[in-house]
Symmetry: C2
Subunit: 237 residues, 2 copies
């Protein structure tokens, strides 16, 4: 018995971390399930590189075995408000956030992130890749939907040694995919997450303060409000 | 009629190019089918960066609209003879090449390459991604099998705007996947390919000459021999 439970407590997982609320909660869930955490973040020419610093704090908080930050250049791929000089939309109501695909969408971003996570998982012998995608608040992003994640998992198991040799089935874990922001925050608080570490804003000030008006800030603020918890983020003005 | 055929002649394709025999032949096939070529190569810390120079020559040869070279660091992902200081195997017979997964396998490499190609295809509005994978000579690589490619295509159409909005179905094209090396070379010669531009060696000399003994050189040499065509590559010694 001891042996089985020890082994369960040493399963490795790669956790994609943006330093935001969703991926931080996902890391808390992976930790609570007994996984060793290998935290993976990206610097991809985004304006909000302050999120990379947040991801580092989060990895340290959860005692990650390793925190890896990969530099990838997505700007070369063309237009998106997260990487180019297109204006980040501010003060939108929820209905317009959920209409069509937002300007902040980066082509194939989750596919690229998950592909790197898959490579690292194979090297580490990790069975699980955790990602904080959310189909509720980000319904406009094609690569946040459950059917996309299922297809990636299928592909991942055909792409890798483990899949071919039938050793370890890779699982893409999306524990917050169907939760509202308030539910995500509630779960995190129950697991002891300090959301003061996290960063959500698409368009922060030079000092790292959040704008409070972009889609991501608005969703965060509403989530804390609905969860009945005070948002520890620092907002401008 | 004219209009349809004109349109057919301006379909865009992203072609993954290593500067080797297979991907160069694939580019010739894409060109012959009337596609505009957007050539995509990677510098990923491999020892044989001379292949990047070959890919540039190949893109110019086929009049590519653009040739993009992305820097990605796969070394950070761990061990492989193509990126680390592990010895590249030399002088192996074909049977041992086809036993299990070779040391030259890079975890999830084709998945990462195809993910970037997918991002670029979405930005360009390209419908087809061409890749020179081969299930005959590289039977040990999980990500060279038709079932892997089919799964990637399925995932790609769920990952992207085009897929969600039902506009353009992305196709992953693998025209040489079932060909022997001799057949690939024969097809390329018929399409006017000058294989003097290409580079195949896993372990070239400083002056770019091929070793003649690694798996890739051996497969290339046998391919030209079986095709009855003189190999224009320059070998050491």
């Amino acid at each position: 018995m001891q042996k089985v439970s020890e082994r369960a407590h040493h399963r490795k997982s790669v956790v994609l971390s943006s330093g935001g609320v969703d991926s931080t909660t996902v890391m808390a869930i992976a930790k609570a399930e007994g996984y060793e955490i290998y935290s993976l973040s990206f610097r991809y020419g985004q304006r909000h590189s302050v999120e990379v610093a947040a991801a580092e704090k989060v990895a340290a908080f959860f005692g990650a075995m390793k925190h890896l930050v990969l530099d990838i250049d997505l700007r070369i791929m063309g237009a998106s408000a997260l990487t180019d000089e297109i204006e980040v939309p501010k003060g939108r109501d929820e209905r317009s956030m959920n209409t069509g695909i937002p300007v902040t969408y980066v082509p194939a971003r989750n596919t690229i992130f998950l592909s790197y996570a898959l490579a690292w998982a194979e090297v580490l012998g990790a069975s699980d890749i955790f990602i904080g995608v959310n189909a509720v608040d980000y319904s406009g992003y094609p690569d946040c939907r459950p059917e996309y994640i299922a297809a990636f998992e299928e592909m991942a198991n055909l792409a890798t040694k483990a899949g071919v040799e039938g050793k370890t089935r890779i699982r893409i874990r999306t524990p917050v995919i169907h939760m509202t922001k308030a539910e995500i925050i509630g779960r995190g608080i129950a697991l002891g997450v300090d959301y003061g570490m996290t960063h959500s804003c698409y368009d922060p000030a030079a000092d790292g303060k959040a704008c409070g008006l972009c889609d991501s800030c608005l969703l965060r603020k509403r989530g804390f409000r609905e969860a009945g918890i005070e948002d520890p983020a620092q907002y401008m003005g």
